[in-house]
């Protein structure tokens, strides 16, 4: 032992050495970074509340997006169902749940699109109109961008699953994706409260 040049091994080296899944850790880090970005946009929104030099004002043009909110929040349950099904090896059920998630996410985007169409063409509110337009379109638009990214990833997972390339072994990866989707939903809760409840 005196002249040994090895790295000594612990006496209890038999015990298992389990470390967390890298994707999950990485996704939590991304969520932390993204939360900070959203925080800045939310702060800007709240800071500029009631400082508009001209209309239209939130109270005049905003409606509660109830249908879209229900769609998006329930998609959290379906994506969770997809992961649970895959963990149990039920690929068919997983594919179905993914399809449902995509439909619900797309329905949410549709309600946002309709809302924006109304605001731009009928209420006359664009990003250039006033501070409300500036902060509203950037905050809701930033969230919608995240929904689009999440949808693209979900569609990719769905297509892989449909072509039979997804197995139980991919459950961890799907969970990383579902984590991102839950984050997008959680952000919507904040945006909903700030823009449609407090800000109106």
């Amino acid at each position: 032992m005196q002249t040994s040049n090895t790295i000594p091994v612990s006496a209890d080296s038999g015990e298992p050495w389990v470390l967390p899944h890298r994707g999950i850790v990485g996704m939590w880090c991304l969520i932390a970074a993204e939360s900070a970005i959203f925080l800045i946009f939310v702060v800007a929104y709240i800071f500029y509340l009631g400082k508009n030099l001209s209309g239209p004002l939130p109270s005049q043009v905003l409606e509660l997006p109830i249908v879209g909110t229900i769609c998006l929040l329930s998609s959290s349950f379906t994506v969770h169902a997809a992961v649970t099904a895959l963990r149990k090896g039920n690929v068919r059920r997983c594919t179905l749940a993914l399809a449902l998630t995509i439909l619900l996410g797309a329905a949410f985007l549709l309600t946002t699109a309709k809302e924006w169409h109304y605001l731009i063409y009928e209420a006359g509110l664009t990003i250039q109109t006033n501070l409300f337009g500036t902060t509203y379109y950037s905050l809701v638009g930033l969230h919608a961008t995240h929904v689009v990214v999440g949808l693209l990833l979900l569609i990719a997972a769905f297509l892989f699953s449909l072509s039979g390339r997804v197995t139980e072994a991919h459950a961890d990866r799907l969970e990383v994706l579902s984590l991102y989707w839950h984050f997008v939903d959680a952000i919507w809760v904040v945006v909903f409260l700030v823009v449609y409840v407090i800000g109106r």
Partner: protein, 499 residues
């Protein structure tokens, strides 16, 4: 103590090893090991490729940061500026609104700046994610969080700070892009937008960023001071707690850059106190380093010289920092040469000295050759003299009222002699840096062979050959204490018996 054994990997002590799956390689463990000894140098087995956790993310982040830099410099050639062809982004480093508005910054140099910062910010965040995931998910067996080298701890804290500090800057740059390109009004004062909001958003990044710079330097000092004092670091848990504390508190001090804006007494008071509080964990670190040196058998090789220089200068930098944290004092000296002297004391006297120490310390590991000691000492002494001539005297014209960002001034204000001294010091520092660069290149070809462990150090990197192979360890090590190589060199008195 002074054994200099050539440590050849992989180790050939079968009874000490916990092997992943020896059976699949051959008939007996010994045959496998002997074969591995030959093979590992050229063909690392797939499970031993121990780079960062996510190599593709690593490359992606690196190239994003690099291209962000290229984009910024492209502005010199491509952006149509006020006077024609190219112009540098000319809105100052904090780019205060409304100077960045399209009206006041026509042309594209500001756009280059915005996009470059945004791009390299994404690259930085990617690397931070990579470092955190690697730290959490790729620790070798026995490497619990409380046994991690302090260097790794500090990189973990730094990376976590990147998430919450760099992202606000990215968000602010997105807003600025929207303002400049599609006419939104975030920082447009004509439409009710706020210039002060930009200041807040910028400094929410800007001050934690200073700690993102200094924490890696603390990390180097944490490794170097114990090795050259021949003692284990004093107060490991306190060091970890102080680092995490600095990480948190640094997020609540940003507005001490804005005392002259007029935030009102409540805002000013909060940021005065927060700024003073952050000197507590920093002080804990300082005392722990001193306590590590205290009673140690200090070896003044070049890395340790720079580390001691760091301790001395960083202390003074911290003291002028506390002076500036007092709002009324700051009102007098904000945007004066006193501030310039203060932060150069941090960045040159602290960060750069730690970087030099790290260069001399890890150069043998990176290249397999020692840096020249005599040239290193010339470098240190010239640099330390040049540093003090420049930055000690720079405080004085600041106190005499010399403002920042002036390229000339009226004669007879009493600033001339001090600026002359500052200039002379800068020349001395320049000469010292040239010696350093020469030493870097010269030692790469002519330096003394370093061997795997030239400093008789204790952390795992010194158990690999110099330079280490791309797979780092042929056989994943398993550790039982904070100083695995101490345990190895002193089996009669291992650290693990004290844990």
């Amino acid at each position: 103590m002074h054994r200099r054994k050539p440590w050849i990997l992989p180790p050939l002590q079968p009874r000490n090893l916990h092997l992943p799956n020896p059976q699949r390689f051959g008939h007996s463990r010994l045959a496998y090991l002997a074969a591995l000894a030959q093979l590992c140098q050229r063909h690392p087995p797939p499970y031993l490729r121990n780079q960062l956790r996510a190599p593709r993310l690593n490359a992606f982040s690196f190239w994003l940061s690099a291209f962000g830099g290229f984009l910024l410099y492209l502005s010199y050639f491509a952006a149509s500026g006020l006077y024609g062809a190219g112009s540098a982004p000319d809105v100052g480093w904090f780019a205060y609104a409304p100077l960045t508005a399209k009206v006041f910054s026509p042309g594209h140099s500001t756009d280059y700046w915005t996009l470059a910062v945004l791009m390299s910010g994404i690259g930085t965040t990617g690397t931070a994610i990579n470092i955190v995931a690697t730290t959490i998910c790729m620790r070798c067996k026995g490497m619990t969080l409380t046994r991690m080298p302090l260097l790794v701890w500090l990189y973990l804290v730094t990376s976590c700070m990147v998430f919450v500090a760099v992202s606000p800057l990215s968000a602010a740059q997105i807003m600025l892009c929207l303002d400049r390109y599609i006419g939104s009004h975030f920082f447009d004062t004509q439409a009710g937008g706020s210039a002060v909001l930009w200041m807040h958003f910028f400094w929410i990044f800007g001050h934690p960023e200073v700690y993102i710079l200094i924490l890696p330097s603390f990390a180097f000092i944490n490794e170097i001071v114990p090795v050259f004092s021949r003692k284990a670091i004093f107060g490991y848990p306190a060091m970890v707690a102080a680092s995490v504390g600095i990480g948190f508190i640094s997020l609540s001090v940003w507005a001490h850059h804005m005392f002259t804006v007029g935030m009102g007494p409540a805002g000013n008071t909060f940021f005065v106190f927060a700024t003073m509080v952050i000197s507590v964990p920093t002080g804990i670190k300082m005392f722990n380093w001193l306590a590590t040196i205290w009673g140690g058998k200090v070896i003044y090789r070049v890395p340790m010289l720079f580390a001691v220089g760091f301790l001395f200068q960083f202390l003074i930098a911290g003291l002028t920092g506390i002076m500036l944290s007092v709002a009324p004092f700051d009102w007098q000296l904000s945007a004066s040469y006193f501030v310039v002297a203060h932060f150069h004391y941090v960045i040159v006297g602290g960060i750069l000295f730690a970087l030099f120490a790290a260069f001399y310390y890890w150069y043998p590991k990176m290249t397999g050759r020692m840096m020249n000691e005599r040239l290193g000492k010339w470098h240190f002494w010239l640099f330390v003299i040049g540093f003090h001539v420049t930055f000690d005297f720079m405080h004085i014209p600041g106190l005499l009222g010399m403002p920042r960002r002036v390229y000339t001034y009226e004669a007879g204000r009493g600033w001339e002699i001090w600026n002359l001294l500052v200039g002379i010091g800068a020349i001395i520092q320049g000469i010292a840096t040239l010696i350093f660069v020469y030493n870097l290149i010269h030692s790469y070809f002519r330096g003394k062979e370093a061997g795997p462990d030239p400093w008789d150090a204790w952390t795992l990197e010194w158990a690999t050959p110099s330079p280490p192979p791309s797979y780092n360890f042929a056989i994943e090590p398993s550790i039982t204490s904070r100083r695995p190589l101490w345990d190895l060199k002193h089996p009669e008195d291992p650290d693990s018996s004290y844990e």
